[in-house]
């Protein structure tokens, strides 16, 4: 079964998220708990703002399968709902065509990277 990995809408008001880390690569066997990507969401992206409402999230897989494609590269800016990868539940099935459904994901709020400058 072909599943789509889609960028969740982390906030009602978010328009995009920026990928800050990629934890896996196509061909990787996935299991519940496999980290996929980290995403930075800045609700002030449309305009500069004092103390911008920025949050960081990690997407973690909740399915067994094989990652067949991952289009989310570090630094890429994506809209909520954007397809960022494809998963097949078995290694030898085709990864073409329309996915049956979205892959189930865990969304976790993570700490910002520890950089002062």
């Amino acid at each position: 079964m072909l599943l789509a990995i889609e960028l969740p809408r982390f906030h009602e008001l978010m328009t995009t998220g920026v990928v800050t880390a990629v934890h896996t690569a196509p061909g990787t066997a996935l299991a519940p708990g496999t980290p996929l990507i980290d995403v930075r969401v800045d609700l002030s992206e449309a305009a500069a703002q004092d103390c911008p409402p920025v949050s960081w999230f990690r997407l973690v897989c909740r399915e067994h399968g094989v990652l067949r494609a991952l289009t989310a590269a570090e630094g890429s800016e994506l809209a909520p709902g954007a397809r960022i990868g494809l998963v097949t539940t078995t290694p030898d099935e085709a990864s073409t065509g329309e996915p049956m459904r979205a892959a189930r994901l865990t969304v976790a709020g993570i700490l910002p990277p520890d950089t002062a400058w």
């Binding site: 969740p8 708990g33 409402p53 865990t106 709020g109 400058w117």
Partner: protein, 459 residues
């Protein structure tokens, strides 16, 4: 129907007199107002050479305002000529504060007893971050590195609350308009509230401890070192870098928790030598601080502020400061030392606003996938660990926790504080009420909660 002349009343002990601007009205003519509504304000200054008052309010003279809150409800009728518009309503040079002068009338509700005074004066004093930061556009506007207010109609003893946190604390204290109106609506007074914004320096405990202990010679050494080192690299600082640096220097060489502040009343001008209570935010205690390589002092600037500075500023930081990581144990130790230091100077209550540990959009069914310790990766776990540390500190040092975490969970974090920092007005009001409750419970003078129907605010 009784009509009450809206006389200004006395705000300073005789013979000191005040210059004032024309009145700026905050309510329309004919509006029905409630007790506590702030209906007008003006800019003021001391007339003549009252040396004590002038020195006490040094740095605040240009952003000194008095707002007038009604003591009883009624229909407001503006007096002709009370407001003259333009600069005459903004500069304090064009009129004199006369205690028996009426600026309008109030048609009292039938059941209202005629009060002794028409107004409770709420006095604002802003210490400009930069002398050229002149913003006379409204009620307590401007860029201030210290902003304070007090109910000025009654005498001492004032209770002083000093507030040092980051932006999650700011609107709880300053309210929707930035002029403390909601907080003062919540207390009977005489209360005195001082807010130190985190524009330049984040008030983490080691920084506050440094400021308390720093001698004038050490302050001078910091200034001289910065003068020598800033711009010493190949990158040339821009104007904005210099302004950021200036704000930073000003913040470094002062000590918010040991400043003496003048508070005025109709009968006397008194000095608050130390705050009776301090409100801190645990979010000020970041896990990474900067320490000066040679002089050893601590510093922290918000990352988003650094993002707005240029390469010369960054180069100066890299050349002169090292990054020091702090564990929760370190934070607990630093906060404990700070509590001991301020208690030794007379502060009785230390309140700490805790961290919100609920993230409305988080969906974690299992923690196994995340590296240990969880608190180094997951923000919500880190917040819970931090809050647990505060409970330990409450037992060991008697700090009072303002449980913003519980309030966020009660109101709904997703709706009321979606990024765990910036909260809704409703949640801010609930947190404000909790702060007042704790201050009252801790016997801080002036912070007796007021009945809800009495509010200081604009309409």
């Amino acid at each position: 129907m009784n009509t009450l002349p809206l006389t200004l009343g006395r705000v300073l002990p005789a013979p000191t007199t005040l210059q004032r601007s024309g009145m700026r009205w905050l309510v329309p003519d004919g509006a029905h107002c409630r007790a506590g509504d702030v209906v007008a304000y003006c800019n003021v200054g001391v007339r003549g050479g009252d040396a004590l008052l002038k020195s006490s309010l040094a740095g605040e003279q240009r952003d000194w305002q008095i707002a007038l809150a009604l003591t009883v409800p009624g229909v407001l009728r503006r007096g002709a000529g009370a407001s003259r518009g333009g600069f005459l309503d903004q500069m304090q040079y064009y009129d004199t504060w006369r205690e028996d002068e009426a600026i309008g009338t109030l048609e009292l509700d039938a059941a209202t007893v005629v009060p002794a005074a028409a107004f409770d004066p709420l006095i604002f004093a802003g210490h400009r971050a930069l002398d050229i930061a002149e913003v006379r556009t409204g009620l307590f506007t401007g860029w201030h590195d210290r902003a304070r207010a007090w109910w000025g109609g009654t005498g001492a003893p004032f209770g002083t609350l000093a507030c040092l946190g980051i932006c999650e604390q700011r609107n709880i204290i300053r309210g929707e308009s930035g002029a403390f109106l909601e907080l003062f609506a919540a207390v009977q007074g005489p209360a005195h509230v001082v807010h130190y914004p985190d524009d330049a320096l984040v008030p983490a405990a080691p920084i506050l401890l440094d400021q308390i202990a720093r001698t004038p010679a050490q302050q001078q050494a910091i200034v001289e070192d910065i003068a020598r080192s800033f711009g010493a690299g190949p990158a040339v600082p821009g104007g904005r870098d210099f302004m950021m640096l200036g704000a930073l220097v000003n913040a470094l060489v002062r000590s918010p928790l040991t400043e003496s502040l003048a508070v005025t009343a109709p009968t006397a001008v008194t000095t608050a030598d130390h705050p009776d209570a301090i409100l801190l935010s645990i979010l000020s205690e970041s896990s990474l601080l900067l320490r000066h390589k040679r002089l050893g002092y601590w510093m922290q600037i918000h990352g988003y502020r650094l993002g707005e500075t240029g390469p010369a500023f960054h180069a100066w930081l890299r050349a002169n400061f090292e990054q020091v990581r702090r564990s929760l144990t370190d934070v607990a130790r630093d906060l404990g030392m700070l509590v001991d230091a301020v208690r030794a100077r007379g502060t009785t209550q230390v309140l700490v606003l805790n961290a919100v540990s609920t993230l409305g959009t988080e969906q974690v069914q299992c923690y196994a996938p995340f590296p240990r310790p969880l608190g180094k990766t997951l923000g919500t776990v880190r917040a819970r660990e931090t809050n647990a540390m505060l409970h330990d500190l409450s037992r060991s040092h008697g700090i009072r926790i303002v449980d913003g975490d519980a309030l966020a969970a009660e109101f709904g974090a997703r709706q009321h504080i979606p990024d765990r920092v910036h909260s809704s007005g409703v949640l801010q009001q609930a947190t404000r009420d909790e702060i007042v409750r704790i201050l009252h419970e801790g016997d801080v003078p002036g912070f007796v909660p007021r009945q809800r129907e009495h509010r200081a605010g604009t309409r």
